[in-house]
Symmetry: C2
Subunit: 200 residues, 2 copies
DNA sequence: ACACTTCCTATACAGTTGTACAGTCTTTTA
DNA sequence: TAAAAGACTGTACAACTGTATAGGAAGTGT
């Protein structure tokens, strides 16, 4: 985390106002999009005033950056949480996939936020996808220098494969669910599941 | 189309102001999202004043509805454009898939708009996904009563399959492209392609 | 006790938003 | 040609936007 260090008024169980602002921003951004979320809405949700948001983050864009940084941190933490003992490479990769999947399951807002961030994309700003790609690429490179990853594909190919595996289903499943909603016989656990693969 | 009938000032080759407004709205909504697009921006792009938008569409939400209706019409037209002669069912379905794919290739803004609309997801309003689902369901039912579609799956299953096949790749491909951008060796035509399938 | 830093509220401001409306053209109808 | 209808502009307005800033409250260090 970027600054979950206990500030002056931080109580042990509760969150700092600064952290609360960031958390509510994440949830509201995920639900309504950045453009459609005003600072006043965030302030109200976090139980503070607009001024405090400005005090802590300066501008709305800086707040967005902080939110994105927190999301990236969540990924990094999930990956770092699995130890790199001398197990086979396939095991390690699978364990990391599981850790990321669990993190995403615990933080549905992250999934929604990511979905939006992906297509909003582009522009000049160094954005979320770039950061996540960088994170994954570093992960792949580490595995390679440790002799744990195949070098028959390029790094790029491996990164794309990993990210699509991790994110692909999450992006498309809501569409499937939305459609399934409209048919009685598709309700329940027998709902169709997506399978996303890559060809070349 | 809903109202491409020639109005008073419609010139043969050009578009009515009303249609121009709708078209620019579609493009701007697709690029920046509905919430981040103001009526004044749309007016400027269409070369009219805000007042005219209000005059023709009343409210911004009504304009959104009109845009969505036009998108649905594009799908319906694409499907209706392939004749239903007595060819095998598989041929017909494939031809319709091609027609839809061509329509989407001709209207990239529709793809971008759809991507946004899908995840913005609904609330109370009868939204785009519902309408497209309805359209596809009708298509499936027609094929069934004509004895051209299998009845071994439920209608719902067939609808989901068709829509995911048609839309799935379009949604995920931008993510792949974005990631591929960051690696030199993934540029060009050999870019990885997605394959989206359904399991049950 | 003091100053000092940090957290936080309140208010203000210029710019933008969606909507409303009065009025002016232009076309159609009769 | 007169009148009715529709297309279109310009201006106005209340509500909301992000940002700025002055000042109070609460903590820490000396």
């Amino acid at each position: 985390m970027t600054d979950r260090v206990a500030g002056p008024r931080a109580r042990p169980d509760d969150l700092t106002a600064k952290a609360r602002i960031r958390r509510e921003a994440l949830h509201l951004f995920a639900e309504h999009g950045v453009g459609a979320t005003s600072l006043r809405t965030i302030a109200a949700s976090a139980g503070v005033t607009v001024g405090l948001i400005v005090h802590h983050y300066g501008t709305k864009e800086a707040l967005c950056d902080a939110v994105e940084l927190e999301v990236v941190d969540l990924f990094a933490e999930a990956i770092a949480s699995v130890p790199v003992d001398d197990r086979p490479a396939a095991d390690l990769v699978a364990a990391r996939d599981v850790a990321v999947a669990e993190m995403l399951a615990d933080n549905p807002a992250v999934v929604d936020y990511l979905r939006r961030a992906i297509l909003h994309g582009g522009g000049d700003r160094k954005d979320l996808v770039s950061r996540l790609t960088e994170l994954t690429a570093q992960q792949v490179r580490d595995l390679r220098t440790a002799g744990l990853a195949s070098t028959r594909q390029t790094v790029g190919e491996q990164v794309v494969t990993i990210m699509v595996r991790q994110l692909g289903r999450l992006f498309l499943q809501p569409l499937v669910d939305r459609i399934a909603e409209e048919f009685d016989d598709l309700a329940g656990p027998s709902r169709p599941q997506l399978l996303v693969t890559l060809t070349r």
